[in-house]
């Protein structure tokens, strides 16, 4: 398809990664995340037909309709994306999966399924668009709202927040990151790293609800975010066929983590050296951040090479959903054998 517009190595224009027009509020953090998903997959040269999308219910969960129109998607039930995706991915395990959920969808009603999906290391990029409220139902506190927060009509939130990254880590997630919708560059870089990870990649993206949750002093608001964000480290992604960023980084100042597909994530060392392969460090960093009310962003933990859910099944090469009757129905003889068995 020879077009005037620029194409990526997959021969596709950015437009071919787009979705339908968003019906979310203007300025909703979720919209900028959708844009970065488009950018990341375009830059990774991943063909949309090789991606499958899942979501639950909520403003956030609507967003898969707003990117990758050429990918299959299933906008399921509130809090149940985990099971829908786990089963749905068995149809063709060669597909890359991306799931978009909300803090209510994942941390409230979906907590159990989320934890077990992480435990099974289902190879999916699991994005939580975290705004601390139930947006679609008009702004009630969600389980990630910080303690003591007051919102109009809502009073004061009496309970401590669920920390998505802490939960992921406690369930032995193999990729755990947090970023901020207001920082498109970091969002994109983390997304690219996540899509190259073979296993579950949990990304907690603080995504302000401009309509119901944007009080100056709130954790999930832009203003707060901008002011208090303290990037853990600046990531840039180096894909095999992508030289562009190399120059940006001199040897020695970086630390490489080799990902499943041979690509590597390069972490820029900060004053405080951070080792994303050290789980103790990860717990400490997240806990410390919570205690100090920091919005710590970056990749907290990566553990490559852990068998995924599908690795624990010795499946035939051909995608299961392309198997034919010949491959699926045992022979008449086999039944006769069983019949004998049941006669004895």
């Amino acid at each position: 398809m020879a077009t005037q517009t620029q194409v990526n190595l997959a021969g596709l224009t950015r437009n071919e990664y787009k979705g339908s027009a968003s019906t979310l509020c203007q300025g909703c953090g979720h919209n900028s995340i959708s844009n970065q998903i488009v950018a990341a997959l375009y830059e990774l040269n991943i063909v949309p037909e090789n991606v499958v999308k899942f979501s639950g219910i909520g403003c956030s969960s609507k967003s898969p309709a707003y990117f990758l129109n050429r990918s299959f998607g299933f906008n399921g039930l509130h809090g149940r994306m985990s099971s829908l995706a786990t089963g749905g991915m068995f149809g063709d395990v060669t597909l890359k999966a991306v799931g978009v959920s909300g803090d209510g969808d994942t941390a409230s009603i979906g907590m159990g399924g989320f934890k077990h999906m992480v435990r099974r290391n289902v190879p999916i990029v699991y994005i939580v668009e975290n705004n601390g409220v139930y947006g679609l139902t008009k702004g009630q506190f969600s389980a990630t709202a910080e303690k003591g927060l007051e919102l109009k009509h809502r009073g004061r939130n009496a309970f401590g927040p669920v920390d998505i990254c802490m939960e992921a880590l406690a369930s032995n997630a193999t990729f755990v990151a947090r970023t901020f919708a207001g920082d498109p560059k970091q969002v994109k870089e983390i997304l690219k790293a996540a899509f190259s990870h073979n296993g579950i990649a949990v990304i907690d993206i603080i995504s302000p609800c401009v309509t119901f949750h944007n009080k100056e002093d709130s954790f999930h608001s832009y203003t707060w975010g901008k002011a208090n964000e303290s990037p853990l480290h600046d990531i840039s992604y180096v894909a095999p066929r992508d030289e562009i960023f190399i120059e940006d980084y001199e040897e020695g100042t970086t630390q490489e983590v080799t990902l499943h597909d041979g690509a590597t994530v390069v972490l820029k060392k900060l004053e405080k050296e951070y080792d994303p392969c050290n789980i103790y460090e990860a717990f400490r960093a997240i806990e410390e951040a919570e205690q100090n009310h920091w919005l710590l962003t970056g990749i907290f933990y990566i553990e490559p090479g852990v068998p995924t859910l599908f690795d624990s099944y010795n499946l035939v090469e051909k995608p299961l959903n392309r198997l034919t009757e010949a491959e699926l129905r045992p022979s008449k003889e086999s039944l006769d054998k069983l019949t004998k068995h049941f006669k004895l």
Partner: protein, 614 residues
């Protein structure tokens, strides 16, 4: 009473009269004591002797230490339903012997471990003590195995006393332990010794005997859950997610057992299926629906509490048109109820599951062979109609070992339904047509679907549980909504040819009709013969699927009264029939009852006679 000379009494009406291959034996033990092996050896030996048999396990909802009963009914006429009284009781559990005596017929026989002190032995029964401890001691088995092999003592004594063919017993034992010499021998030693003891010490003074009959050629012995799992496997089962629950667990566990033998690629040995033990039923059905959406022959199996938890998700599958098969092996509800007892109490739930206007195809197998048959057919229906199919069995059907007709190999190729792959979409595009996921192009209410992994750039769509138009676009348009819902109704109701038709049995000059379904069939067959013997011929329709086929309507119109017999409190089938055939409402009479026990022919006959008197 003395151990050498058992007390014997003359039971006038039975005196001398031999009773052959037509009685019921109940073995009373303590669960966890390993009586299952002993009982199944007796059951299968009798089957091998050509005698129609059925075994029913009445067990508690715990793991060890509580009373459990196993009843074996022999019937040369082939009646295999539960009977309410025992002819022979084998008592190994002191705690329950008194109550067991109440359920014995006059002239019945009581075998009991002789260390049990029994008070107030009924005058009208015959008792045989069994020196269990003594025989075990002589056989010197390791102490930890004593309880276990103790059961082999009653196998030997009972087998001898009712005249079983010991050779067959040995063969069965050998098969049971898959030829493991050591196990076979140690058990056989006890059985033999016990039989020998009986021959030397017991004087047979009862009428109960077994005799060889012609081989039961086209029958097998199998439990419904195994049959259901195998039927699904021969139907091409590709994915099942499940969560443990009695009495459904053994269905998924049978799949886990047989899939590797039957469905691994012969060359590579790789699997053409996947089984996931989910974290709960919400996840189990969610995974199953995800897989069904992605094009796999997908199912889950559970019982009442699981179905309740699956309510929301099944509404999604109905509305987004995802094929999935759901097995409900019914136990006694509401709530946790009696997890180890049987019932037919989830029927109206299945009919009205989930919020909003929904409709589910419901299959009602009547025996293990039908579990196999419906197992593979359910996938064809689900994929053809792109909708959930629920199969309701119950604990009696699912967990007990039944004598049934051998499984028939599927007589039709698989129907994968309307699925479009890359080239199909391309063809449409070339013809200038646009494909719409929910468009009723064929006028049969069934749209075409594509599957994830289809790489055609026009193949993808975005499924959603919210209002959508034919192109899957989000829509709140009233007309679009109503149009879509009417199509769903049409889809289910205009394809009755796909649903198993009812089984109808007639008698000349039938006085009334009887409608039943599921596991109660055996009791109905016997009840109809008993009624006929009283000059009350009846016609009988066994419902095998919902929505109802027209035969059901015709049947209801054919009699001025039809008894609807079922194993629940509220007469749920009667309720559903009254809804669909409101003009026959007053002709239906509910005969419903549930206490955890399978229905007996006796209860059915008495209930109907009482109603007939009115």
């Amino acid at each position: 009473m003395s151990q050498k000379q058992p007390a014997t009494k003359e039971i006038p009406q039975k005196a001398g009269k031999k009773i052959v291959n037509d009685f019921c034996m109940t073995f009373s033990t303590i669960n966890g004591s390993g009586s299952a092996t002993a009982n199944s050896i007796l059951l299968r030996s009798l089957f091998r002797m050509g005698i129609p048999v059925n075994g029913k396990n009445i067990f508690p909802s715990n793991i060890q230490g509580l009373p459990t009963w196993y009843s074996i009914r022999l019937s040369k006429k082939g009646y295999l339903a539960r009977v309410e009284k025992d002819d022979i009781v084998v008592a190994m559990n002191p705690a329950t012997i008194a109550s067991e005596m109440q359920f014995m017929v006059t002239g019945a026989v009581l075998f009991y471990a002789d260390d049990i002190k029994i008070e107030g032995v009924r005058e009208d029964i015959i008792t045989y003590p069994m020196p269990v401890r003594k025989l075990i001691k002589e056989a010197d088995v390791p102490p930890n195995l004593r309880d276990y092999v103790a059961n082999m003592v009653y196998v030997g004594i009972v087998a001898h006393m009712i005249g079983m063919d010991m050779d067959t017993v040995y063969k069965t034992l050998d098969y049971n332990f898959k030829g493991n010499k050591k196990a076979v021998d140690s058990n056989w030693k006890i059985i033999e010794a016990a039989a020998k003891w009986a021959s030397e010490n017991l004087v047979k003074s009862d009428p109960y005997n077994v005799e060889k009959m012609p081989e039961l050629k086209d029958y097998i012995m199998v439990d419904g859950n195994t049959a259901s799992a195998l039927g699904s496997i021969y139907g091409g089962l590709q994915f099942t997610a499940w969560y443990p629950i009695t009495p459904a667990s053994s269905l998924a566990e049978s799949a886990i057992e047989y899939l590797p033998q039957l469905r691994n690629d012969p060359e590579t040995g790789k699997a053409t299926y996947a089984v996931v033990q989910a974290e709960d039923e919400l996840a189990a059905i969610g995974m199953a629906i995800g897989a069904g959406w992605a094009g796999l022959r997908s199912m889950t199996s559970t019982s009442g509490p699981g179905i309740s938890l699956m309510s929301e998700y099944l509404g999604l599958a109905y509305f987004t048109e995802v094929p999935v098969v759901v097995w409900n092996v019914q136990r006694v509800g509401p709530s946790t109820g009696l997890p180890t007892r049987t019932a037919q109490g989830d029927l109206t739930q299945a009919a009205f599951l989930s919020h909003g206007d929904t409709q589910f195809v419901i299959l009602l197998p009547g025996c293990a062979s039908e579990c196999f048959e419906f197992g593979w057919k359910a996938f064809d229906i689900a994929e053809r109609l792109q909708t959930p199919v629920m199969i309701l069995t119950d604990l009696d059907l699912g967990m007990n070992t039944h004598m049934v007709k051998t499984f028939k190999y599927p007589n039709k190729p698989m129907d994968r339904g309307k699925v479009l792959w890359e080239e199909d979409i391309q063809k449409l595009v070339d013809e200038g047509k646009i494909w719409g996921r929910y468009a009723d192009v064929d006028g049969d209410g069934i749209p075409y679907r594509t599957l994830p992994g289809n790489r055609n750039t026009r193949a993808a769509y975005f499924a959603r549980g919210t209002g959508h138009d034919e192109m899957t676009r989000y829509s709140e348009d009233p007309a679009v909504w109503e149009h879509g819902m009417d199509r769903l109704k049409k889809k289910i109701s205009s394809h009755k040819e796909l649903y198993p038709r009812p089984e109808i049995q007639k008698m000349d000059g039938a006085k009334f009709g009887i409608i039943a379904y599921g596991s109660t069939g055996t009791a109905i067959d016997e009840a109809r013969d008993l009624l006929a013997a009283r000059d009350i011929p009846t016609d009988y329709l066994r419902v095998r699927s919902i929505p109802f086929n027209d035969e059901v309507c015709d049947f209801l119109h054919a009699y001025d009264r039809t008894y609807v017999v079922e194993m629940n409190r509220d007469g749920q089938m009667r309720q559903l029939l009254a809804m669909d055939y409101s003009d026959c409402g007053s002709r239906m009479v509910s005969v419903a009852h549930t206490d955890g026990m399978p229905l007996s022919a006796e209860w059915i006959v008495n209930s109907i006679l009482k109603l007939e008197e009115k």
